[in-house]
């Protein structure tokens, strides 16, 4: 639960991202504004869900936070992480900041080198950020991280293609935890997984948030996932946050028409919390 007295670990103010449109030889094109005036705070041990349809700018925000936007993007506004202005950082300082913010992507297969063993995949952040540590310490930290994510050391010498989708996503989370981040950005981490595997990953993220005090920015379009995991929700449409609030309040009584539309499109509302269909005159 959020303790509002706590200081936000990540704070975004008036974030604006635009891309130059491809101009012709004789005409200039106006820039495309993909993220407009977005502001939110992320607190330790809490999960903030960013929801909205594809193309609404969710992933662009994640990339903006991580400094992974292409050169052509124009970014303005303020991103403050642990008191530092992320957008003003460069070089060595940015590298240090990246240890503090880690990311897990949707497709675990696509975010791992198929030729590397799990040990080296999980250990790579250490090779980059803490290359001075001893081999024994490296092994120990890899082991710890895998254990936290529910994987045994039996996986160390395997290759990504020998793992199931859920195991691969655990490896991605283990890798993200290697630099002991304070912020974990999850871009639809369970969209490609089966529902029972999704349940395991959501439980894992919930445990990590509690045990490590991890702040999590969770990008999704699944409202059921939002209900289970998020403390706070921001609903985005065409690059803007149209409504935000505590998850329970927003899901129970959405105010903005777009939030209502999004919630009304959720399939299976006739299923109760055990998942069973509720007998009603309409479906009997």
């Amino acid at each position: 639960m959020i303790t509002q007295a706590a200081k936000p670990v990540l704070s975004v103010r008036g974030l604006h991202v635009s891309f130059a449109n491809r101009a012709g030889l004789l005409r200039s094109a106006p820039p495309r504004h993909v993220v407009r005036n977005v502001s939110f705070d992320l607190f330790p041990s809490s999960v903030l869900a960013l929801v909205g349809e594809s193309g609404c700018g969710k992933t662009t925000i994640a990339r903006g936070l991580l400094g992974l936007l292409p050169e052509t993007a124009k970014v303005s506004g303020h991103i403050t992480c642990e008191g530092k202005d992320v957008l003003a950082l460069g070089g060595a300082e940015l590298k240090i900041m990246r240890r503090r913010m880690q990311v897990v992507f949707q497709d675990p297969g696509g975010s791992m080198n198929p030729g590397m063993t799990i040990e080296n995949i999980v250990g790579e952040p250490l090779d980059i950020h803490e290359s001075a540590i001893t081999h024994a310490e490296r092994t120990q930290r890899i082991d710890d991280s895998l254990t936290k994510c529910g994987l045994s050391s039996a996986f160390l010498q395997r290759l990504p293609n020998e793992l199931s989708g859920g195991q691969r996503q655990r490896v991605c989370i283990a890798r993200a935890l290697m630099t002991r981040p304070t912020v974990l950005i999850c871009d639809e981490p369970t969209s490609a997984l089966d529902v029972s595997v999704q349940a395991q990953i959501l439980n894992l993220l919930n445990d990590l948030r509690a045990s490590l005090g991890l702040a999590c920015l969770f990008i999704t379009h699944d409202m059921g996932v939002v209900r289970q995991l998020a403390d706070h929700v921001c609903v985005m449409q065409s690059g803007e946050i149209v409504e935000d609030g505590p998850a329970a309040t927003l899901l129970d009584s959405p105010q903005h028409p777009y939030s209502r539309q999004l919630l009304s499109a959720v399939p299976g509302k006739c299923l109760d919390s055990a998942g069973h269909i509720v007998p009603s005159p309409a479906n009997l």
């Binding site: 029972s196 209900r227 399939p267 055990a274 069973h276």
Partner: protein
């Protein structure tokens, strides 16, 4: 022969006792299994779907739901083969057995009477052809009577899937369309030949909820207007609850449960179905911890069922076999009550009750 009566009583597409295997060993590289070994992907899959009906096949990845559909289309990948069973398509007064149909016969059926759409529309569309040309190709091939007005037929196909300004869209290329629009184009192509059955393999998994809702609504309209049967392959039980008439739950290549959707979801007989329903994150209420299939099955694996006075143990791959039944005894599909079918351990009693015909509900 009274074909009208026949089509009303018998399912338009039925799968009976289907078993499909893949050549194994070589693909894994390490491990050293010989190339002669075969891996069973589907065993004893049986289901039927009637005209105008939506049958949902639910299961996790690797449950064999797509393989069954690919077998019906005659599109199994290299190394896969149908070992047993049959797939029958009954339409236009004809009765095809698709597992044994020749290549030429399959060419007449595939795309014409039996069409399929896939999860990722971008990979199924030709990126260097305007969508109009791609739709026209289908019409030229399968509806020769429309030869003189192919363009109009293509426009009509786009209007049928509710695409605005069809004339302009026909000239566009796949990359110029949004994900939802591309999936509509795929559906337009699939239904342009007015097939009797549409196999839809996770058609909305890659789409947003709002777009998903519209696509599913569209599939619902197409089947009620044209009497087309839809076989919806999905892992989303919410979608199943809202749209499917009949539900078939698959696991490990087996049909675990078959029945009317409202019955299956209100009162699942198989523990796996119960587990699958319970681990779905609900949008209404937060739970302390989501259940997982593994945990639930551990507790419920040994449930049983009365069928025609016989107590039968539910089959579950990770549960111990009941006494009098070897661990290797294949499960069988039996009718466990009125309008309900489930997989049970293949004991002697179960073998006697084993279904001969594909389960189907009018």
């Amino acid at each position: 022969m009274n074909t009208g009566a026949m089509s009303a009583e018998r399912p338009v597409l039925s799968v009976t006792g289907l078993a499909v295997s893949f050549s194994g060993g070589a693909a894994r590289g390490r491990g050293g299994a010989g190339s002669g070994t075969r891996v069973a992907a589907v065993g004893e899959a049986s289901w039927g779907v009637h005209a105008g009906q939506m049958l949902a096949i639910v299961g996790e990845s690797g449950s064999g739901k797509s393989v069954t559909a690919l077998a019906a289309m005659g599109l199994l990948p290299r190394g896969a083969r149908v070992d047993e069973g049959e797939i029958r398509l009954r339409t236009w007064g004809r009765d095809w057995e698709l597992c044994r149909a020749g290549a030429e016969e399959m060419r007449q059926v595939r795309g014409k009477h039996l069409a399929m759409i896939f999860q990722e529309p971008m990979t199924s569309l030709n990126p260097v052809m305007a969508v109009g040309e791609q739709i026209e190709e289908v019409i030229r091939l399968h509806r020769p009577e429309m030869k003189r007005n192919v363009r109009e037929a293509a426009m009509e196909a786009l209007s049928a899937v509710k695409i605005d300004e069809p004339a302009r869209r026909l000239k566009q290329f796949p990359h110029e369309l949004s994900g939802g629009m591309r999936q509509r184009v795929m559906i337009a192509m699939a239904v342009a030949s007015q097939p009797a059955v549409l196999l839809a393999d996770e058609p909305t998994t890659a789409l947003d909820v709002t777009v998903q809702a519209r696509i599913l609504e569209l599939l619902g309209e197409l089947r009620s207007q044209r009497g087309m049967a839809v076989v919806l392959i999905t892992h989303d039980l919410g979608v199943v609850a809202d749209h499917a008439d009949v539900t078939c739950v698959m696991f490990g290549g087996r049909v675990l449960e078959f029945g009317r959707t409202r019955e299956v979801l209100a009162r699942p007989v198989h523990p796996y179905t119960r587990a699958l329903l319970a681990c779905r994150p609900s949008v209404q209420r937060r739970v302390e911890r989501l259940a997982t299939v593994g945990e639930l099955i551990g507790a419920e694996g040994k449930s049983s069922m009365m069928a025609q006075g016989e107590r039968l143990a539910m089959w579950w791959p990770f549960a111990a076999a009941p006494s009098g039944c070897g661990d290797d005894d294949a499960p069988v599909l039996v009718q466990v009550e009125q309008e309900r079918w489930a997989a049970v351990w293949g004991t002697e009693a179960a073998q006697r009750l084993r279904v001969k015909e594909a389960p189907q509900l009018r």
